[in-house]
C-alpha cells in the first residue's frame, strides 16, 4: 500500500507541476498547448547540464531557465503579436521536439549517459512519519515541493492582489485594462511562471524518474496536464486531486502489469490517453473556464 501511494505521488508530480503551470497561464487568459514542448525543453536542458556539471541542482535550474526562455518566444508571438495561441503552441512543441533531438545527438554523439539523481530531502523525522512519511519525503524532493507549490498557487490566486489581477485579466481583459492593469505584462508574467513550472516538471523526468533522457520523453504529459486543468476546474487543489487520480491510475496499472495481468503492453501505454479522453468527456462543460481564455487582447475603441 505504501509503495503504491509512493508510486502514485511520484507519477503524479510532473503532471501536477505542469498542470499548475498551465493553470496559472490559463487563469490569465492564455492557453499554452506548447507546455509539452516547454516540459521537453526543460527535461533536456536539465539532463544536459546535470550530466556535464554532475550537479542535479544546476540541472533543475537550467531546465527552468530553458523552459522560460522558450516560453518567452511563445509569449512574444501570442501576447505581443496577437498570434493564435493554438498554432503558436503547436510550433513551440515542434521546435522543442526538433531542437532537443538535434541537440541530444550533437552534444552526446557517443551515446546517452545516465543522469545524476536528485536525492531525497534529508530532514530528520519527516520520512518516518506514519502512512505518508515515506511516500512524501522518502524519495524525491519534487513530491513535497509540488504539494507546497499547489498551496502557494491556490493562495496566490485567492489571497494576493497580484492573483486578483491575474484572474481579472483572464476573466475580462478589457475590464482589467480599464482598471489600469497592464494586460500584456500580466500575461507575459503568467507565461513565464507557467513555463518555469513546466521546466520543473520536465527536469523531474530525467533527474528523478528515468535517470536518462530520450527523445520525446515527455510523451504527452503536457497534454494530459492540459486536461487536468479542465478536470481540476481551473483551481489548484482540484488540479492536485486530478493529477493524483492520474498518478494513482498509472501506478495501479503498473502494479497490475507486474502481477502479469494479460493486457498487452501497448494498450497499457495507451491507457492514460484514453483515460484522459474519458475524463474530459465527463468533466468538460461542467467546469467554467476563464471567460477570456484563448482570446488575444487588443486595446481599441469599439
Amino acid at each position: 500500500m505504501d509503495a503504491l501511494l509512493e508510486a502514485a505521488l511520484r507519477l503524479a508530480t510532473p503532471l501536477l507541476f505542469a498542470a499548475l503551470g498551465e493553470l496559472l497561464v490559463e487563469r490569465s487568459g492564455v492557453v499554452n498547448i506548447g507546455i509539452e514542448g516547454l516540459m521537453l525543453t526543460g527535461a533536456f536542458a536539465a539532463f544536459a547540464v546535470a550530466v556535464t556539471t554532475a550537479s542535479p541542482g544546476l540541472g533543475v535550474a537550467a531546465g527552468v531557465s530553458a523552459s522560460v526562455a522558450l516560453g518567452m518566444v511563445f509569449a512574444w508571438f501570442v501576447v505581443l503579436r496577437s498570434a493564435d495561441q493554438i498554432v503558436v503552441g503547436t510550433a513551440v512543441n515542434l521546435l522543442a521536439l526538433g531542437a532537443t533531438g538535434l541537440a541530444l545527438r550533437s552534444l552526446f554523439p557517443g551515446g546517452i549517459p545516465a543522469a545524476p539523481v536528485v536525492g531525497p530531502l534529508e530532514i530528520p523525522g519527516l520520512a518516518s512519519l506514519p502512512v505518508v512519511g515515506t511516500a512524501l519525503f522518502g524519495a524525491t524532493p519534487f513530491v513535497p515541493t509540488s504539494l507546497a507549490a499547489t498551496l502557494c498557487v491556490a493562495l496566490f490566486l485567492a489571497r494576493t492582489r497580484a492573483g486578483l489581477r491575474w484572474r481579472a485579466v483572464g476573466e475580462v481583459a478589457r475590464a482589467a485594462d480599464a482598471e489600469g492593469v497592464r494586460v500584456a505584462a500580466v500575461r507575459i508574467g503568467a507565461i513565464a511562471v507557467g513555463a518555469a513550472f513546466a521546466g520543473i516538471a520536465g527536469a523531474m523526468l530525467p533527474l528523478a524518474q528515468s535517470n536518462t533522457f530520450s527523445e520525446g520523453m515527455t510523451a504527452g504529459r503536457g497534454f494530459i496536464a492540459l486536461a487536468i486543468v479542465i478536470f481540476g476546474r481551473w483551481n489548484a487543489i482540484g488540479c492536485a486531486a486530478a493529477a493524483l487520480f492520474f498518478g494513482a491510475t498509472t501506478a495501479l496499472q503498473f502494479r497490475l502489469q507486474a502481477r502479469g495481468l494479460a493486457v498487452p503492453y501497448p494498450l497499457a501505454l495507451a491507457l492514460p490517453y484514453v483515460l484522459t479522453l474519458a475524463v474530459l468527456a465527463i468533466a468538460t462543460g461542467r467546469a467554467r473556464a476563464p471567460r477570456d481564455l484563448g482570446r488575444p487582447y487588443r486595446r481599441e475603441a469599439h
Binding site: R81, V87, A91, L95, G98, L107, I230, A270, Y273, L280
Partner: protein, 346 residues
C-alpha cells in the same frame, strides 16, 4: 497585382527565413552549415533519384497538409493528422491482409485506399463526436488520439496483425495486387494526392457543403443563426480531414512500405500544420508547400548521411515556419475564430 506579389512573397520569405534561422542553430551547435546545406540541396533535388525521393516524401505531407488546411478553414483545430494517418494505415492493413485474397488482381488497391480513408475518417469523427456531444476541445482530443493511434498500431503489429512468422513487430506484406502501381518508383499515390488537392479546392470553393463549412469556420454563432449547425459541420470537417489523413496512411502503406510498422508516419502530426500554414490554408497552395517540406525531409536524410547532422533539424525549420506564418504582418494569417459562449455565461 502588388497584393498578389505580396501574398506569394511572404510564404517564400517565411520558408527562407526559417532555413536561415536553422542554419544559425546548426552553427551554434558546432556544425558546419555550408556543407550541410549543400548536401541538403543535392539530396533534395540534385538527381532524378533525389527528385523521386522528394516526391515520395511530399505525397503524405500533401494529403495531411490538405487535411489540416480543410479543418482549419472550417474553424476546427485538428492537430490529429498523425493519429488519423495511423488509423487509416491500420484499417488499410487490416483489410489488405485479413480480408482480401492474396492472389487478387490490381483491383485490390481500391478497397485498401477506401479502407484507409474510412479508418481515418472514423478516427476524425470520433474527435468530432467528443466535440459536438461532450464539448471536448478538439485541440486536446486530437492530440491525445495521436498517442492512442500510435499505441494501437504498436499493439496490432505485435498482436492481431503481426506477420505470420511472428519475428518482427510488423504486419504481413500487402498482397501484390493491393500495392499501388508505380512507374520508376513513383507510385500512383503521387498523382492521387495532386487530384485530392484539386478536389479539396473545389469542395471548399465551389460546393454547397464547402460553402457551409466555410461559413461555420468564419463565425460559428452567426452561422448557427443562419441555420447551420457548427457541431454537425465541425464533425463533418473532422471526418473529411481524417479521411484525407487516413488516405495518406493507406498511400504510404500501399505505395511505399508494403507493410505496417511503427514509425510509418512521415513525422509528428505537427508537420502537416506547418505545411498547411505555409500554404495559408489554400488547398492548391498546399501542393508547393508540401513539396518544400518533402524536399526538406528528403534532403535532410542526405544531410544526415553526408554531414552527420541529425535529420530532426527539419522539425526546427517546421516550427519556425509556423511561427513566421502566423506571427508577422508580412505573412500574417487571420485564423477566424470566435469562441462559442456557453449557456448562462452572460
Amino acid at each position: 497585382m502588388k497584393e498578389r506579389l505580396r501574398v506569394l512573397a511572404s510564404p517564400i520569405a517565411a520558408a527562407l527565413a526559417s532555413i536561415g534561422i536553422a542554419v544559425g542553430v546548426l552553427l551554434a551547435l558546432g556544425h558546419a552549415p555550408l556543407g550541410a546545406l549543400e548536401a541538403l540541396v543535392r539530396g533534395a533535388g540534385g538527381s532524378p533519384a533525389a527528385w523521386t525521393g522528394t516526391l515520395q516524401k511530399s505525397t503524405p505531407l500533401l494529403l495531411t497538409g490538405l487535411a489540416v488546411a480543410l479543418s482549419f478553414r472550417c474553424g476546427v483545430w485538428n492537430i490529429g493528422a498523425e493519429g488519423q494517418l495511423y488509423a487509416g494505415a491500420l484499417a488499410a492493413t487490416f483489410v489488405a491482409t485479413r480480408w482480401l485474397p492474396a492472389d487478387g488482381g490490381a483491383w485490390l488497391v481500391a478497397p485498401v485506399l477506401v479502407a484507409g480513408a474510412l479508418g481515418g475518417a472514423g478516427f476524425g469523427a470520433l474527435a468530432g463526436w467528443l466535440r459536438a456531444a461532450r464539448g471536448v476541445s478538439e485541440v486536446i482530443s486530437t492530440i491525445l488520439l495521436n498517442f492512442v493511434a500510435i499505441q494501437l498500431v504498436a499493439y496490432a503489429i505485435q498482436g492481431p496483425l503481426q506477420e505470420a512468422p511472428r519475428a518482427y513487430p510488423q504486419s504481413d506484406p500487402l498482397p501484390h495486387g493491393a500495392m499501388l502501381p508505380a512507374l520508376d518508383r513513383l507510385h500512383l499515390g503521387v498523382p492521387l494526392a495532386l487530384i485530392a488537392a484539386l478536389v479539396v479546392a473545389f469542395l471548399i470553393d465551389r460546393t454547397a457543403v464547402g460553402f457551409r463549412l466555410r461559413a461555420v469556420g468564419h463565425a460559428p454563432e452567426a452561422a448557427r443563426f443562419a441555420g447551420l449547425s457548427p457541431e454537425r459541420l465541425g464533425t463533418l470537417a473532422l471526418a473529411l480531414a481524417g479521411g484525407l489523413a487516413g488516405l495518406a496512411g493507406a498511400v504510404e502503406l500501399a505505395g511505399m512500405t508494403g507493410r505496417l510498422y511503427e514509425g510509418l508516419s512521415p513525422g509528428p502530426g505537427y508537420t502537416a500544420i506547418a505545411v498547411a500554414l505555409l500554404a495559408r490554408l489554400a488547398p492548391l497552395a498546399v501542393i508547393p508547400s508540401a513539396l518544400f517540406f518533402g524536399a526538406l525531409a528528403n534532403g535532410a536524410l542526405a544531410m544526415q548521411r553526408e554531414a552527420a547532422i541529425p535529420s530532426v533539424a527539419t522539425q526546427v525549420v517546421q516550427g519556425i515556419v509556423i511561427l513566421l506564418s502566423v506571427g508577422f504582418a508580412l505573412g500574417r494569417l487571420s485564423l477566424a475564430r470566435e469562441r462559442v459562449p456557453s449557456e448562462g455565461e452572460a
